[in-house]
């Protein structure tokens, strides 16, 4: 091997409803222009057993945006933005596998859109933080109100972020990693 410095990959999932700013969030810290990968839903997707309906035999393609952040000479972080709709849960299984955790992005104007992501992460036991994306610096709801509305457990951090700003995104990721450390230490 010519590997001078084999890097270790780690992964964080960015989930949330449609157009809540997932791609913007990823782009704000990514070293590369975010890329898109596609996964087909039939045949190639593992764990899809309920496609008996012949009308669903045709392949559905789900696109994921992702970015890469070099953390050190030894560590590279991948951020995957995931489609938030219920029907793509099969893909979340794959996405959260081995992940540090997830950032569930929330637009307080459309709180209900992040319910599936919050439910999923909670049930799957994935460490996650709820990050309220304050567009234009406007925070329409207090984090405590969002926590109540989403019925997020006390130990799950609810933070305010701004997907457009690198520092805010970094701080959100730091918050998630700290939370994941608390979860890991408690096991």
């Amino acid at each position: 091997m010519t590997n001078v410095n084999p890097q270790i990959p780690v992964k964080i999932v960015v989930a949330g409803g449609f157009a809540v700013g997932k791609s913007t969030f990823v782009a704000s810290v990514s070293d590369i222009d975010p890329l898109t990968t596609e996964a087909a839903m039939t045949k190639v997707s593992e764990g899809v057993d309920d496609l008996g309906d012949a009308t669903k035999k045709r392949s559905t393609t789900v696109a994921m945006d992702f970015g890469r952040v070099g953390l050190s000479s030894e560590l590279v972080l991948y951020l995957f933005g995931t489609p938030g709709q219920d029907r793509f849960h099969f893909m979340w299984d794959e996405l959260v596998r081995g992940a540090i955790g997830a950032v569930v992005l929330v637009d307080t104007g459309r709180l209900d859109q992040c319910f599936p992501a919050v439910d999923y992460m909670e049930q799957a036991g994935v460490p996650f933080v709820v990050a309220i994306n304050a567009f234009d610096g406007v925070l329409r709801h207090h984090p405590d109100d969002v926590r109540d509305a989403l019925d997020v457990p006390v130990h799950v951090p609810v933070v305010v972020t701004d997907a457009r700003h690198r520092a805010a995104v970094r701080d959100t990721l730091v918050g998630l990693v700290r939370h994941a450390m608390t979860v890991a230490a408690a096991v």
Partner: protein
């Protein structure tokens, strides 16, 4: 020369023809797994078929499976199968966070991630 990706029409065929109809890799490859072309891969590059050639050329600089998928514009699972073959043949090597891809990073690794993020 690979028999399934040697012509200009390679991009027009259905994705699973590239993988000989297989939908699973023999290796468990997370989408963030890092792939790097080995010296054996370098040596085999000139004779490699189109898709394999593109993957090995790309992975001279370490890339994740997801990046291979994105750059080659092939489905993630197809990229997995093709990369899996190259791993089996020793033409690329793979690096993951730990030996069991389903495991979450341990505290030690999380601390390193935290340090890296705070330095951004």
């Amino acid at each position: 020369m690979s028999d399934h990706a040697s012509g200009e029409t390679a991009f027009r065929v259905r994705p699973y023809l590239l993988t000989g109809g297989r939908t699973r890799s023999t290796v468990d490859l997370p989408m963030e797994a890092l792939v790097r072309t080995t010296p054996e891969g370098h040596a085999a590059l000139a004779a490699a078929g189109l898709e394999r050639h593109r993957i090995m050329s790309l992975c001279v600089d370490q890339q994740s499976v997801a990046e291979v998928s994105a750059h080659l514009k092939i489905h993630l699972q197809v990229a997995r199968v093709l990369v899996g073959d190259l791993i089996d043949e020793g033409l690329v090597a793979v690096q993951t966070a730990n030996n069991q891809p389903s495991q979450r990073p341990d505290l030690q690794l999380l601390e390193r991630v935290l340090d890296g993020l705070q330095a951004l």
